[in-house]
């Protein structure tokens, strides 16, 4: 037992004190910054994009589809003009699909300011605690691993009252990952209906938001999203824990 306790001494404080302003490594591919004036409309970026997230004239990137692979940035820099650059800005969550589209000259501040609207009915109920049931509906396990990482000693999401719970009956909402397979469609809806009202729906990752690389897959059934309202979209492939936690905090708290 003493050896176990001694381990505690080898570990300094591991948690990130200020999660809202945590420093992100510069190599991280987060919010893209676009410069339309440099764009020559060569369409090389749109052609190389595996998910069809980019359109040119004017240059736009849909974060709901983007896998943040960086292929467009590379091809633009090498073959064209360098109009696309991925910044390391990680607060990417938004409450409407339209807001996920990044336009020419969108700065991180602009994006973040508009992305999540403060709603009284949300913060008055969930301000101090929100519990989620996570449903993996075809997710590749990278978003799931990152969501698990949200609760580890580094990110420690529990201190904000955000947690994942085992039963939908104990949850305030569901977090969906994956493109929603035909085989999971029923279980997902069942889980949603088992969650007491009012209930929140969060889509996590490119697959959940748009189908991502699985948009054209044959065994996908996304009817759930037509039937029920989605409250929050969190882009990423996979979603970084800081992206997830900050999006939920922006959603449940007054700014």
């Amino acid at each position: 037992m003493f050896d176990t306790l001694k381990m505690k001494l080898t570990q300094k404080n591991q948690f990130i004190p200020d999660i809202k302003n945590a420093a992100m490594r510069s190599q991280f591919r987060g919010l893209p910054e676009l410069d339309n004036s440099k764009c020559k409309n060569c369409n090389a970026c749109a052609n190389i994009c595996p998910t069809g997230a980019i359109s040119t004239n004017p240059l736009k990137i849909d974060l709901g589809k983007c896998t943040f692979c960086g292929a467009c940035e590379r091809i633009c820099k090498n073959n064209c003009s360098g109009a696309i650059h991925f910044s390391n800005y990680y607060k990417l969550g938004a409450d409407k699909l339209e807001k996920l589209v990044v336009l020419d000259g969108t700065t991180p501040e602009d994006y973040h300011k508009k992305a999540i609207e403060v709603r009284k009915e949300i913060y008055s109920i969930y301000n101090r605690s929100i519990k989620f049931r996570q449903v993996s509906a075809g997710g590749c396990n990278s978003c799931e691993m990152e969501l698990n990482a949200c609760s580890n000693a580094n990110f420690d999401m529990g201190r904000f009252g955000i947690d994942f719970v085992a039963s939908p009956r104990h949850a305030d909402g569901i977090v969906v990952t994956g493109p929603i397979t035909k085989n999971m469609a029923y279980a997902l809806e069942d889980c949603y209906k088992s969650t007491p009202e009012p209930r929140i729906v969060i889509l996590c990752g490119a697959c959940a938001i748009s189908g991502g690389v699985y948009q054209e897959a044959s065994e996908i059934n996304r009817e759930f999203l037509q039937k029920y309202k989605v409250d929050l979209y969190i882009p990423g492939c996979p979603v970084h824990p800081l992206t997830f936690i900050n999006a939920v905090l922006d959603f449940i708290r007054k700014k």
């Binding site: 176990t4 490594r25 591919r29 960086g70 996570q134 997710g139 085989n183």
Partner: protein, 483 residues
């Protein structure tokens, strides 16, 4: 047996693969003592071409053979009756092509979701069923588990998967991309993307630079280190040894954050591409990796020693979920789980390339239980840290190499196979091209395809409450199986 022997990552013409009469191929497969790597069909005009691949681990060769089957064939005599290693392969073939393997002991869908699904039943006084899933208590992927119990003791576990089935193999033919390969099984991002890229390169006989090969292997070993450390924490978390859980979790963070510094993604997404790699490891990064790994090794050593000294940890790990070596051999368990049962299979060394040739693994003494599955991870973390350091050393002479070389076009009517030892075990990707040089079939076999049945055997005669511990020890892939 009539076959063509190929090496890992080798392209052959489809016409060079001998076409054997179906019944004689079946007979040979049934009595062969080599383990199957593939058994899958592909559309061939009005016929079905059945490809089979056997692994000769001692010689480092893959024996490929094929047969033409009439589409109107209704049924054939099952191979599984004689050779249990074909159990899942035949079920999959039946699901995809509808030809019934007569006499198959437990013919059920692999990925299709039926309205009614028959489970193996046990009846009697005080017996009961426990049904879990598809949605589980934690943040994990979906699957259904059905336990047949008497009291607390599990007599049989049946695992029903397919919830994650997205149609990857068809999509791969339609729209292949590195990004799709990375998203098939996200916890093995590097292994999958590497196998995919190698198959694509083999189909065109493209070459990539030595530096790119080295970076791929460094990333592969780093992925192994990260996931193994995370899993060691998860195993300890399931037996409520929370210090271990948290310390391993934050140690894993060090590894994946270094991966982020290399590639811009904590899982290494975007690192590997067909034709090479997208990101370099320069001297500065190389030093960073080495110092990070020394720190990781130090913490893991201390934590593991402290954990294994604790009697409460040992009493839960030892003798829990035993899979005997005979059972493991019969079921063809592969990869890290196979090694924890005493089967010395490791495709890095069995199908050796120039880089792993002079790396050495230390022998592992398997005890076949949950402790074995914990300590094999510890051993492999230490091995991999050593490998990464050696591979980084080799990088020094290769600084001037190109990262990316333009890949060549696919050669028509080709067959290529690539095996990559991911952290779970062998990830097998196979692709064929048609007469115009377009992809015509893409087949993936995850190590979980072999190993799920091993988990079912491990929980027999254990308490229901030991299931999470066994499950974490195996840590199999749902999406890699379901595709």
């Amino acid at each position: 047996m009539n076959y063509i022997a190929i090496k890992n990552n080798q392209r052959i013409n489809i016409s060079d693969i001998p076409t054997v009469e179906f019944n004689s191929l079946k007979e040979q497969l049934a009595i062969s003592n080599l383990r199957p790597l593939a058994f899958f069909g592909s559309d061939w005009g009005d016929k079905i071409k059945l490809y089979t691949a056997l692994a000769d681990d001692e010689k480092g060769e893959i024996l490929v053979s094929s047969a033409l089957i009439d589409k109107n064939l209704k049924e054939y005599d099952s191979i599984t009756k004689e050779n249990h290693q074909y159990h899942m392969f035949e079920r999959e073939f039946y699901e995809q092509f509808g030809i019934l393997p007569k006499g198959h002991p437990w013919l059920k869908p692999v990925r299709k979701n039926l309205d009614s699904y028959e489970f193996f039943k046990m009846e009697g006084e005080q017996t009961h069923q426990v049904a879990v899933g598809p949605i589980h208590a934690g943040v994990i992927e979906p699957g259904h588990f059905r336990f047949m119990c008497s009291g607390e003791k599990v007599y049989n576990l049946e695992i029903m998967l397919g919830y994650q089935h997205r149609g990857v193999e068809d999509l791969m033919v339609k729209k292949p991309s590195n990004q799709l390969a990375e998203s098939i099984c996200g916890d093995s991002t590097i292994a999958y993307n590497m196998a995919y890229s190698q198959v694509m390169e083999s189909l065109g006989e493209s070459v990539i630079s030595t530096k790119a090969k080295l970076i791929r292997r460094i990333a592969l070993e780093m992925e192994r280190i990260a996931i193994h450390i995370g899993d060691m924490g998860a195993i300890l978390g399931d037996i409520a040894y929370l210090m271990g859980k948290e310390v391993y979790a934050v140690t894993r963070t060090l590894v994946i954050n270094t991966m982020l510094e290399i590639s811009g993604s904590r899982f290494g997404k975007g690192l590997i591409t067909v034709g090479g790699v997208n990101f370099d490891i320069d001297e500065k990064m190389s030093d960073k990796i080495i110092s990070m790994l020394s720190q990781v090794k130090d913490t893991v050593n201390k934590m593991t020693k402290a954990a294994l000294k604790s009697s409460t940890v040992m009493s839960r790990l030892e003798k829990t979920g035993v899979v005997s070596k005979d059972t493991a051999l019969e079921l063809n368990l592969v990869g890290m789980i196979g090694r924890s049962c005493g089967i010395e299979l490791d495709s890095r060394f069995d199908f050796c390339d120039e880089f792993y040739k002079d790396l050495e693994k230390k022998p592992f003494k398997a005890t076949n239980d949950a402790y074995s599955r914990f300590s094999i991870r510890y051993r492999e973390v230490k091995d991999s840290i050593r490998f990464v350091k050696k591979l980084l050393k080799k990088m020094e002479e290769r600084r001037a190499d190109a990262l990316y070389l333009e890949p060549k076009k696919f050669i028509p009517d080709s067959f290529a196979l690539s095996i990559v030892e991911g952290w779970r075990g062998e990830v097998v990707h196979i692709a064929t091209t048609d007469g115009e040089g377009k992809l015509s079939r893409y087949k993936i076999k995850d190590p979980s395809f072999n190993n799920w049945f091993g988990l079912a055997m491990a929980v027999r005669n254990n308490g229901v409450s030991d299931f999470p511990l066994c499950n974490k020890g195996f840590d199999l892939s749902y999406c890699g199986f379901d595709l």
